[in-house]
């Protein structure tokens, strides 16, 4: 039978119905331009740490780190004034400065700041009231004088890419608090490894040559070469470990020297697919996130370490019938395994066995602390300080016990996970059993945004709940990843994702990336209602718009405050207790 099929296939192959092509490979489309980035240039990169630590014998047969550096990296020639990273933007690559000097801008004067400082100011009572009579009848009205010539930041095209540049660099350096970045410095690894927004703007102070390595390459180098991994992880620990531990409600109590000791043994891991949203398409009632979920640890296996989630979501499952069912989800700053290690520490007869299967939902960035390090370095201090209270443990490192699970709505949980709605920190949730369709929420939103509502009362539904098409202010804001200008960023110190209208070039990358269809591109008009047109292409100028959670309004989101039937809320959908509380209200 098998032979027959093979023969049939051969016959068909010989016929004209089939076309033979070489199979697609990883580097069919390298990160950079192969013409400009030659193997000789790789040698220059290998002179600098951490790349100088790479050893060919650490890589398996068929894997060559030269190929990896060549295909997952690119060389960019920056000119004086070019911006390498924008503060708040999401980057997925790290950099090595090969020549020249850069400036790390620790603070920026207001007029240089890409973030929209004007929007940071909370409206006064008078200006809030003034919206009653000053809001425009013209849809999407803009002050056209803010666009174009008055910008301090300009653009140029180089190597087929749009590069932003500061118009007046000496003035910026004088006005800002900055540090010099010297040749040979390796930077940007925090964003590349942890999917955190860039912490600062970096500008070329002189003409500079920079090697940029995308995260896939960085991941593989760390995977195969221990020396490289230790160097990068140590740098990450130095620059990032202390702030990360202080965000964790349990680990923040460790003394700094103990944190560094833990960091020595901990390993950073990235699982899943950082671009899960590209494969899923738009998520609708009929469409779930279609990405394979990578198993992190399987039920019944040995628990070799406690996991700290730094980013993304971890699905916790247990065997049920002939398959597995989801019993919970973990997100950033939460831990898995601490409960089991504690039980084992109290009673060594209890085995260190995984009680659940845990999987990376889309993408997960985590820190694995070996079990023996948890026992020797963390537990004694936590017990000494009397911190291992049941409530705190349940909050930071939930045990997912059976009796708690019995009260959950399994179908709701699966819906939240399947559609990745769990990503929302301020998801608009409408109880349709209470909503009378008065549209007071939409009117309140419009009043707060110059008569332009920033959401549509429509969306994915589950039973009597509607997950409305309003920006959810995601934990993993995939809309920000591909923004070429850094116009869409997370507002510092908050969960709110804002769009700087002046910096937005209307490319639509954010709207395409948003799997929930919550960003809209609109045409804009000037104060007289004239449609703004691109003078070069004669096409209407477009701007991305979305819910900004009324970040510049008094009292927070107007929609939730305006609902007279308590039917609408903005809720963190990854917080099961808050969700349950609202549903049971």
């Amino acid at each position: 039978m098998a032979n027959e099929s093979h023969t049939e296939l051969q016959d068909r192959a010989e016929s004209a119905a089939m076309l033979h092509i070489s199979p697609p490979t990883r580097w069919d489309q390298p990160f950079g331009d192969k013409q400009q980035f030659t193997p000789e240039m790789v040698q220059a990169i290998l002179r600098h740490e951490p790349f100088s630590l790479l050893a060919a014998e650490n890589f398996p047969t068929g894997r060559n780190f030269h190929d990896l550096l060549l295909n997952d990296g690119r060389i960019t020639h920056y000119q004086r004034g070019d911006i390498i990273t924008h503060v708040g933007a999401y980057g997925s690559s790290c950099f090595l400065l090969l020549s020249g000097e850069l400036r790390l801008m620790l603070s920026l004067p207001e007029h240089f700041d890409v973030s929209d400082k004007k929007r940071d100011k909370i409206t006064s009572v008078y200006s809030a009231l003034r919206q009653l009579w000053s809001n425009s009848a013209i849809a999407e009205r803009r002050d056209a004088s803010r666009y174009g010539k008055h910008q301090e930041i300009n653009t140029r095209e180089a190597d087929g890419r749009l590069i932003h540049m500061v118009e007046n660099l000496p003035e910026l350096i004088e006005a800002a608090h900055s540090e010099v970045v010297e040749s040979g410095t390796f930077f940007g690894e925090i964003s590349a490894l942890t999917r955190a927004p860039r912490a600062a703007m970096i500008v070329a102070e002189s003409d500079a040559v920079i090697y940029e390595l995308r995260w896939q390459g960085l991941r593989d180098l760390r995977k195969w070469d221990a020396g490289f991994r230790i160097w990068v992880d140590r740098l990450l620990a130095q620059r990032n470990m202390l702030p990360f531990f202080t965000q964790n409600k349990i680990l923040r109590h460790l003394p700094p020297e103990q944190i560094l000791a833990v960091a020595e043994h901990a390993s950073f891991e990235q699982l899943g697919d950082t671009h899960w949203y590209r494969k899923s398409g738009k998520i609708s009632s009929a469409n779930r996130v279609n990405s394979a979920e990578e198993i992190i640890m399987a039920q019944g296996s040995y628990l070799d370490g406690v996991l700290l989630i730094r980013g993304g979501f971890v699905r916790v499952m247990e065997s049920y019938g002939s398959a597995e069912r989801t019993i919970g989800v973990l997100t950033e700053n939460q831990m898995y395994g601490l409960h089991t290690v504690l039980e084992h520490h109290k009673n060594p007869q209890r085995p260190l066995i995984m009680a659940h299967t845990i999987k990376a939902m889309g993408y997960v960035d985590l820190l694995r602390i070996p079990t023996h390090i948890v026992i020797s370095h963390i537990l004694p201090i936590l017990q000494l300080k009397g911190l291992v209270s049941r409530d705190l443990l349940e909050q930071v490192a939930p045990a997912f016990e059976q009796e708690e699970f019995e009260h959950r709505d399994q179908a709701l949980l699966e819906t939240l996970l399947d559609k990745h709605i769990i990503n929302g920190t301020a998801t608009m949730l409408i109880d349709m059993d209470r909503c009378v369709g008065c549209d007071d929420c939409v009117r309140a939103c419009a009043t707060a945004h110059d008569n332009n509502p920033r959401f549509i009362r429509h969306g994915t539904e589950y039973a009597n709940l509607q997950f409305t098409n309003a920006c959810m202010q995601c934990r993993d804001p995939v809309c920000t990843v591909d923004c070429p200008t850094g116009a869409i960023v997370r507002k510092e110190g908050t969960r709110v994702i804002t769009i700087n209208d002046t910096a937005c070039i209307g490319c639509g990358n954010c709207a395409r990336s948003c799997p929930y269809d919550n960003i809209r591109l609109v045409t804009v008009s000037d104060q007289q209602g004239r449609l703004l047109m691109n003078e070069e292409t004669n096409q209407p100028i477009k701007k991305a718009t979305k819910c900004d959670l009324c970040v510049d309004q008094l009292g927070g989101p107007a929609c939730a405050r305006a609902c007279p039937h308590d039917a609408l809320t903005r809720i963190d959908t990854s917080d099961p207790k808050a969700l349950r509380q609202w549903l049971d209200r």
């Binding site: 409206t123 059993d433 369709g437 309140a444 009043t447 009292g555 039937h565």
Partner: protein, 279 residues
């Protein structure tokens, strides 16, 4: 309907008790005042005027959504409970009989309409949303005319392609005489509110009977028409329930605004009368 209402009153139990105590206190004060020959109508009148102003404030709150003056949900609850209180004060003020004089009678009638529409609206806002949710095909009220027009276009297009064929004559006739009329605009408004609309069922039954007189091609189109009729039926139900849920507010708000003017007139007329200014 009993489910959501029971749930509502259970949730409001503590507030209901407090309100009952306030009302009991109010009636006690009223009886004491009445037996001691105080100006009962004066203090009940001014109390009612104050309550009317407080009730109107709810609408003001809706307009100033940009100010952090408390959630509209709390305002609405306050509006509801003050409304119940206003009914009691109104009865104490005017008695159970319609008052003499045209102005007073109109004022009394307006009050009754406002109270009735308010209670009606309250009951609707509790009972209808779950019904709308559980009815298939929930769409926004504003979108319904466009969807209905789309259905009609689709049906017209289906029939236009059949029009010249001999074997489809009964279907095209039936469409022109009855189905098109049904699809053209919302039907059976009241029947949908009471869940007793049956025009779609009748049309579908007629189409079933018609099947024996038409050819296979027309029968296929008839099946598509059945689906369109069924969809229109669900759309009409959505329209009726959602329209009802919205329209009562127009009555309530319009009469409330008129009432404010009448109340001011009522106060002026009464004081003028007492001051013997010749009215």
């Amino acid at each position: 309907m009993a489910g959501p209402l029971t749930h509502y009153f259970k949730r409001s139990l503590s507030t209901t008790l407090i309100l009952a105590l306030v009302i009991a206190g109010l009636i006690t004060v009223w009886r004491i005042s009445d037996t001691r020959f105080y100006q009962v109508s004066e203090w009940t009148g001014w109390s009612l005027f104050g309550l009317v102003l407080l009730l109107v404030l709810y609408n003001v709150r809706k307009k100033i959504s940009m100010l952090p003056v408390g959630r509209a949900w709390y305002w609405r609850r306050m509006h509801t409970w003050l409304g119940w209180l206003a009914i009691v004060v109104f009865v104490l003020h005017s008695g159970w009989q319609p008052p003499a004089g045209k102005l007073n009678f109109i004022l009394w009638l307006f009050m009754l309409i406002i109270f009735a529409s308010g209670i009606f609206g309250l009951l609707l806002s509790i009972a209808l949303p779950p019904r709308i949710t559980r009815s298939e095909g929930r769409v926004q009220l504003e979108r319904i005319p466009r969807i209905r027009a789309g259905l009609l276009r689709k049906a017209d297009h289906l029939i236009a392609r059949l029009a010249k064929e001999q074997g489809s004559q009964p279907l095209t006739d039936f469409y022109t005489q009855q189905i098109r009329h049904y699809l053209f605009k919302p039907r059976e408004f009241a029947a949908h509110c009471f869940n007793s609309a049956n025009q779609a069922r009748k049309l579908i039954n007629s189409l079933d009977t018609l099947s024996r007189y038409i050819d296979k091609t027309a029968d296929e189109k008839a099946e598509q028409l059945r689906q369109l009729i069924d969809y229109k039926h669900r759309l009409d139900r959505q329209y009726s329930l959602q329209f009802l849920l919205r329209v009562w507010t127009y009555v309530h708000v319009a009469f409330s605004i008129s009432l404010l003017v009448l109340v001011v007139l009522h106060v002026i007329v009464n004081y003028a009368y007492h001051l013997e200014l010749g009215f």
